[in-house]
């Protein structure tokens, strides 16, 4: 930033010669004139300084009897002065400045982070289709409203934050699991119901009436914590019934059936080192692709690299280019050995378990067995886990029959 400011203000290269240029330098120090890139030359010293302090050298020059000579001028003021008669260049520079400013008033990129259950593209597509299109003015975007709409569209989102930085709309998301949503004063009356079959192992009720207890087997859809709260009198008769938003944590032991099969023979890609590239340029809605006539590849992969042009970190421009590369390969039939097949099946199972663990599911038992034979490798069995199974289900309050109006 310091360098940019110096360039904007303009700076000069000065040669000091004559009697005692060292004294000249000492006086510069005394007058607090900042100089840099100082080097000794035959005649004296050469250094750089801000052009606005040049007049201050006059008194020092007279005092020391030195000679001061400007050898070079740098920076914006001198550049503008040098090209003052080249109207086209000046107009072009001004137009470029205006264009950069105008572009900075719009959104040119949407960045979504923090997704797990949903994909970034899914949320990005929804935002672009329904709320914020690329090229929309930043001033028209209401981040609070967008956050609210996203929460409504994607029920798994528990927290969302939208922020505009430069020309980029950043959407940061945290997702929740069933039964972990927060209950606030605005939450309508609800029961906590079971999302799947299981045996209750832990239960904490924060509001509402617990209907089940630890050790009890529940089925999908059954009520775990009721939003109906009855108040009884001394004779165990219902005195009053309140309806609340039931809230609590219900953890149950559930079972996942795991089945994964793959063939022992598979095709491996043997790349031929033959490839061809195409370049696509996008400017706003205008798209143009350039490539030589496509070579005839029987089997090929397409690798696409998209680059969005930007100034700095967050100033995205409505220009992007994409490099498409087609890489030819020959499919070669390969067979897994028993050891390789077992390893692959174990890796796939581990990935499945890791995915479960990321959902705050605690793995209690793993009863999966791997068998390979007859050209197929098969992993089957069950995985017993502890997980939250409660979710909020709207509670319909029964309407009481109205008493007939006495005439």
């Amino acid at each position: 930033m310091g360098k940019l400011r110096t360039w904007l203000n303009g700076y000069i290269e000065v040669l000091v010669s004559g009697n005692g240029p060292e004294r000249f330098l000492s006086l510069l120090h005394l007058k607090e004139i900042h100089i840099w890139d100082m080097e000794p030359v035959q005649e004296g010293y050469r250094f750089r300084m801000e052009s606005r302090r040049f007049r201050d050298l006059d008194a020092i020059r007279k005092k020391t009897g030195s000679t001061v000579e400007i050898q070079n001028k740098f920076g914006l003021p001198f550049w503008l002065f040098r090209y003052r008669k080249r109207y086209g260049l000046v107009v072009g520079a001004i137009m470029a400045g205006v264009l950069v400013y105008v572009c900075s008033l719009f959104i040119w990129d949407i960045n979504v982070e923090g997704t797990y259950f949903y994909t970034d593209e899914q949320i990005q597509r929804r935002i672009e289709e329904a709320y914020v299109s690329l090229g929309q003015r930043k001033s028209q975007i209401d981040c609070n409203q967008l956050e609210e709409q996203l929460r409504q569209d994607f029920p798994e989102i528990s927290w969302v934050s939208c922020e505009i930085i430069g020309t980029q709309l950043n959407v940061d998301i945290k997702e929740t699991l069933e039964g972990t949503e927060l209950v606030t004063v605005d939450t309508p009356v609800q029961d906590i119901a079971a999302a799947k079959d299981g045996i209750i192992v832990e239960m904490i009720t924060r509001s509402g009436t617990p209907v089940v207890q630890v050790g009890q087997t529940v089925t999908k859809g059954s009520v775990l914590i009721s939003g109906v709260v009855n108040i009884y009198d001394d004779y165990d008769e219902i005195l009053e019934t309140d309806y609340v938003a039931a809230d609590g944590d219900v953890i149950a032991e559930t079972t996942y059936q795991y089945e994964d099969t793959f063939e022992l023979q598979y095709y491996e890609k043997e790349y031929t080192n033959r490839s061809q590239k195409a370049i696509t340029i996008e400017v706003g809605a205008w798209v143009q692709e350039w490539h030589m006539p496509w070579k005839t590849f029987t089997n090929f992969d397409v690798v696409e690299e998209n680059h969005k042009l930007r100034l700095g970190q967050t100033y995205y421009l409505p220009i992007s280019f994409t490099v498409n590369e087609r890489r030819e390969y020959n499919p070669v039939l390969v067979t897994y050995t028993e050891e390789e097949a077992n390893k692959r099946a174990a890796e796939r199972l581990q990935r499945y378990i890791d995915n479960l663990s990321e959902k705050e599911v605690e793995i209690m038992e793993n009863n999966v067995t791997i068998e390979c034979g007859n050209g197929v490798c098969k992993a089957t069995g069950s995985i017993v886990v502890w997980e939250r199974i409660g979710y909020g289900r709207e509670l319909l309050i029964p309407t009481e029959p109205q008493a007939p109006i006495a005439e």
Binding site: E22, R23, L25, H29, H34, W36, M38, E39, Y45, F47
Partner: protein, 76 residues
């Protein structure tokens, strides 16, 4: 509370990083400057830096930075 000598006596503060960079504060004047020798005086003492291909990268009101191959430093 102990006040350091750069405040009470105005001695030169010299900071050297390896043998390629040196910073000087509290100096008063530059006595000599060549690619092989830089001599600086302060209020009560001076510093003489000897080396090769030395250059003053910046020279401001508060400090100066010397770069190059520093071989010897003497207090004068």
């Amino acid at each position: 509370m102990q006040v350091t000598s750069d405040v009470t006596e105005g001695v030169i503060i010299l900071r050297v990083h390896g043998s390629k960079e040196a910073w000087l504060e509290n100096f008063q004047s530059l006595q000599e400057y060549t690619a092989e020798s830089i001599r600086v005086t302060g209020k009560s003492s001076g510093v003489w830096i000897l080396g090769r291909n030395m250059r003053i990268e910046y020279y401001g009101a508060v400090e100066m930075k010397i770069i190059g191959e520093i071989q010897r430093i003497e207090y004068v």
